[in-house]
């Protein structure tokens, strides 16, 4: 049972993150930004989970906007239930190791690209290119995934 103070602090965090994308102080944000908001609050939903959540908070007749009124309770629940928890570093590295079938310790650019655009919940061209540009070791044109995970692990909110 969470105390009122904790809940109110959660509410403030959600409101702040929401307001960053509420350019016109209209208490609503473009539905396309909701994924960013949810993720920036420390959650790791999959695309499918994200769409479920959006379906929950959007209007009866979708307007393309999500209102804060509906978003706040749903998001509060998510944070309090600690849903969509972060992926521990070692689990992530294991995931890379699954893809690295030859156990080389690295992945070729084309290999990773193939997996990311064809498997799971595929990346768009943009997404995979951006990932590669950040991940690629320039000299050898491969991705040392252990380093990448360390580099891109961020503080938990």
């Amino acid at each position: 049972m969470m105390s009122k103070a904790v809940i109110s602090e959660i509410h403030r965090r959600i409101a702040e993150a929401f307001n960053v994308f509420d350019n016109e102080s209209s208490k609503s944000v473009d539905v396309r930004e909701v994924g960013t908001i949810i993720r920036s609050l420390g959650c790791f939903p999959s695309e499918a989970e994200l769409h479920e959540m959006i379906a929950e908070v959007e209007e009866e007749e979708p307007t393309g906007y999500i209102r804060f009124e509906k978003f706040l309770p749903a998001m509060t629940k998510v944070l309090m239930e600690r849903k969509f928890r972060p992926i521990p570093k070692d689990v992530l590295i294991q995931a890379f190791e699954v893809l690295d079938q030859e156990k080389k310790g690295y992945l070729e650019a084309e290999e990773l690209k193939k997996y990311m655009t064809q498997e799971g919940e595929p990346f768009s061209q943009d997404e995979v290119e951006e990932m590669l540009s950040a991940a690629l070791d320039n000299k050898e044109n491969v991705i040392f995934y252990k380093d990448l995970v360390s580099k891109m692990t961020f503080e938990d909110l």
Binding site: R13, S26, V91, A95, E119, E127
Partner: protein, 828 residues
């Protein structure tokens, strides 16, 4: 197994990207707030000074200090102006190695001028004055609204805000060619301020205007205004570059700015203007106004002397004056200055300067919570000044015409919003926010199909908004797989889908506006089909090589620097607020309490909790030591032993306002002010801020900077001496050299992706992946070179439809694309 692994990695990476995007948005919001707050502040300051003018006795010394900025048409008749413009007695010294101009100007001279400025030369003031004189003569005969046709030339190019960033103009000329009869241009305002080469940009634009008067069109922007220039750097730049004749040049530019046309219409169908429109916008009225009487768009022109001019307190009780300040957080992007809200200019009742800091009679109004309410957009209508000079250029001296004035202000200052309606633009302090219904109204009434405007910085250099229903267009088609869908199938495939066209296009041509890597610039080319083609660029060669992480990080660093300075500047109040949470005086408070305290003191619309990890890096167990935190903010204060803390904090918080007042008080533009005027400046500032500052405190401040005790204070020195410096940047040095690539060294600008928000399609076929009932946006995420698009449609499980080009070519010199429609499904 593989799928599960892939999903995990994708989840993790998407989360990372989202975090970056959040940081980028916060940073952007911070920069934008600062920019708009400055504009708002400037308007308020100007109104405040105007109010003082109304209430000073004519002989008072304070009045003399500031009345000159209200005396806009000192030089009366044309003959006098010609004398003022006179350049003939200015001699060119032999050592001058800059460009020489002979009039009438030729195209090669204009091109030569561009080349000279590229080589960092400066045009001699004699030629500047001559060029300005010729420009003025030409502008006078231009109509308020330029009317342009594409029938003689293939296409017309349209540029947005340049803001003194010469590199961007050079880049545009390099990519697109210089203006000529075959290459007409429209420049959509805001040529000056903020960047360091504003005067060079003006001279180039004026030169081409003179050479090709039918093919170069300039629209006035809100920064083509001497009052705005006082704060945003143009005045300072001109005075710095032209020490002898700078004042005269500025005076002439005041005149020239007022003669700039207000808008351009292309082929009777495309309206180009700087800011925007309002529900009152009347093009036929605008075509007839005497535009030059509005030297500064910040106030209405002078009334006839002696006429009715009493400030009426009661009449302003009810209206939402457009300069009333908003309380942070209830409005679009709360502004980044500390001041508490105060009411309109007409609320000041006290007559003496000293009394201002005591009280405001009327209590502050609550801002209406419901933003959709149609607010009455009345102006502080009795804004009158007692200056005695008349406006000679017009036939009827000094008639006040608020309707005209409002039309012009709306044109130069307004911004679009997504909701219907039209409400005052309180963030900037001028113009309004207008909605899609107003766009529809104005466009259809004037038989227009597209509004092109600038005024707002956009990350991609452009942005579309405001959709209106149109008939399905016939031209482009898409193919799925390899076969084309025949014409007849299109309409039936489109059953249930309605067509929307985007009616407003914002174009912004100053790249890296807030910071290196913050945004791209863009320009438009428009052919006879009137379909806008957008070309993007970014002026620094560094930015293309930066990853998303680096770009976000660098810009964020800059924005956070500003935030840290604000925190530091409020140290006393913050310490007090922290201590409220720390009754036992342990020096420690929780991070939650930190956020609440900072929120309460600073009244800024900043997401403190989102930024907290950046601003409070050391907080084990969620507790922070607030005393050492101030030290760790890594702000280096100037050496300030004998100066009162509160006074110092005022300087830090209100640098820009203070500097502006200095420049106003410096009536001879020498850069120096006397000790006495220094005191006066502080009195003005303290009245404006409603603070009390003792004479002694001011004297200490003066003495600390007037080291040689000659009774004069150098404004630049003073501002530098009291600058807060970010230690971290000092220590780590320049992480990224801010190198600027000159256009001549660029061979190809290769962009890795373009993000279109809308695409013109004539046929869609669903694939089995569709899980959503509708498509809200089409994103094109690749480049293509030709205007015929062969695209494959892929529906994701997301609401986005992603299109991939069938033929991708890797080495484009430029990318251009047509952008038209957005698809929206009819509700079931």
């Amino acid at each position: 197994m593989v799928m599960r692994a892939a999903v995990l990695i994708q989840m993790w990476y998407r989360k990372y990207v989202a975090r970056m995007e959040m940081r980028r948005r916060c940073t952007w919001n911070i920069f934008q707030s600062i920019e708009y707050a400055g504009e708002q502040d400037q308007i308020k300051l100007y109104n405040f000074l105007g109010y003082l003018m109304d209430h000073f006795t004519p002989s008072s010394s304070e009045r003399n200090l500031i009345c000159h900025i209200f005396r806009e048409n000192e030089v009366c008749r044309d003959a006098e102006w010609e004398r003022y413009f006179c350049y003939k007695n200015i001699e060119i010294p032999e050592v001058y190695s800059g460009p020489h101009l002979t009039f009438p100007l030729t195209a090669s001279q204009a091109a030569g001028l561009v080349e000279s400025f590229k080589n960092k030369q400066q045009l001699h003031s004699r030629y500047v004055l001559q060029l300005l004189l010729e420009t003025w003569k030409l502008l006078r005969i231009l109509p308020n609204i330029n009317r342009v046709s594409t029938c003689h030339s293939k296409e017309i190019s349209i540029c947005g805000d340049l803001h003194g960033q010469l590199e961007d103009l050079l880049l545009i000329f390099y990519k697109n060619g210089m203006p000529s009869m075959e290459k007409p241009y429209v420049f959509n305002g805001d040529f000056v301020d903020r960047g360091k080469d504003s005067i060079e940009i003006l001279l180039i634009l004026f030169a081409f205007l003179l050479v090709y008067p039918s093919d170069v069109h300039l629209n006035r922007g809100n920064h083509e205004d001497h009052i705005v220039n006082l704060r945003y750097g143009f005045t300072k730049e001109v005075l710095g570059k032209y020490r002898v004749h700078g004042k005269r040049i500025l005076k002439l530019l005041q005149k020239i700015f007022s003669w700039l046309p207000l808008a351009t219409v292309i082929d009777h169908k495309v309206l180009v203007l700087h800011g925007g429109i309002s529900d009152a916008t009347d093009l036929s009225l605008l075509a007839k106004v005497d535009r030059h009487r509005y030297v500064s768009a910040l106030r209405p022109p002078k009334k006839k002397p002696g006429s009715e001019d009493q400030l009426s307190m009661d009449s302003d009780m009810e209206d939402d004056s457009w300069i009333s300040r908003v309380s942070a957080g209830t409005r679009r992007r709360a502004s980044l200055t500390y001041m508490k809200p105060f009411a309109s200019r007409n609320d000041f009742q006290h007559r003496s300067l000293q009394d201002f800091s005591r009280h405001i009679i009327r209590p502050l109004r609550e801002e209406p919570k419901d933003r959709r309410r149609q607010a009455e957009f009345t102006l502080s209508s009795q804004d009158l000044l007692q200056c005695s000079s008349t406006d000679p250029d017009s036939c009827q001296p000094g008639d006040v015409n608020h309707e005209e004035w409002k039309q012009i202000v709306d044109l130069l200052w307004s911004d679009p919003m997504s909701q219907d309606g039209c409400i005052p633009n309180e963030v900037r302090g001028g113009g309004c926010y207008w909605g899609p219904d107003v766009t529809e109204q104005v466009l259809s009434k004037n038989h227009l199909q597209l509004l092109i405007r600038s005024h707002e910085c956009k990350q991609e250099g452009y942005e579309f908004c405001h959709s209106r229903k149109v008939r399905p267009p016939a031209s482009l088609h898409i193919c799925e797989g390899s076969h084309e869908t025949p014409q007849e199938d299109r309409q039936s495939a489109m059953g249930g889908w309605r067509w929307l066209e985007l009616a407003v296009l914002t174009i912004f041509s100053a790249s890296n506006y807030y910071e290196v890597g913050s945004n791209r610039g863009a320009y438009i080319t428009l052919g006879p089909d009137l379909i806008p083609h957008l070309i993007q660029y970014q002026a620094s060669s560094m930015t293309r090589e930066l990853t998303l992480t680096q770009r976000v990080g660098w810009t964020e660093h800059s924005a956070l620097k500003v935030v840290r300075e604000q925190l530091f500047a409020h140290r006393s109040d913050l310490t007090g607020a922290f201590q409220e949470f720390d009754k036992e005086n342990t020096g420690m408070i929780s991070l939650n309490d930190w956020a609440r305290a900072v929120e309460a003191v600073l009244h800024l619309g900043i997401p403190w909790r989102v930024l907290r990890s950046q601003l409070v890096p050391n907080a084990p167990d969620g507790m922070m030591n607030y005393r050492s935190w101030f030290r760790e903010l890594a702000i280096k204060e100037p050496d300030t032993e004998h100066i009162h803390q509160a006074l110092l904090e005022t300087v830090y918080r209100h640098r820009s306002t203070l500097e502006t007042i200095f420049r106003i008080v410096d009536t001879d533009h020498s850069g120096l002010i006397s000790l006495e005027d220094f005191h006066q400046t502080w009195k003005l500032l303290s009245a404006y801020l409603k603070m009390e500052i003792s004479d002694e405190a001011i004297s200490n401040l003066a003495i600390s900077i007037d080291a040689n005790r000659d009774g004069c204070i150098d404004i630049n020195e003073f501002m530098e001496a009291f600058r807060l410096v970010d230690k971290s940047r000092l220590e780590t040095g320049n992480l990224f050299q801010r190198s600027t690539a000159t256009a001549s060294r660029q061979t190809h600008l290769h962009m890795t992706s373009l993000h279109l928000t809308n695409l013109h399609v004539s046929c869609l076929q669903h694939s089995s992946h569709v899980t959503k009932r509708y498509v809200t946006k089409l994103s094109v995420k690749s480049l293509w070179l030709t205007s015929t698009l062969h695209l494959k449609v892929i529906f994701h499980s997301s609401p986005h439809v992603v299109l991939y080009s069938m033929t991708r070519e890797e080495s484009f010199a430029t990318a251009s694309f047509a952008l038209m429609c957005q698809l929206e499904k009819e509700p079931d």
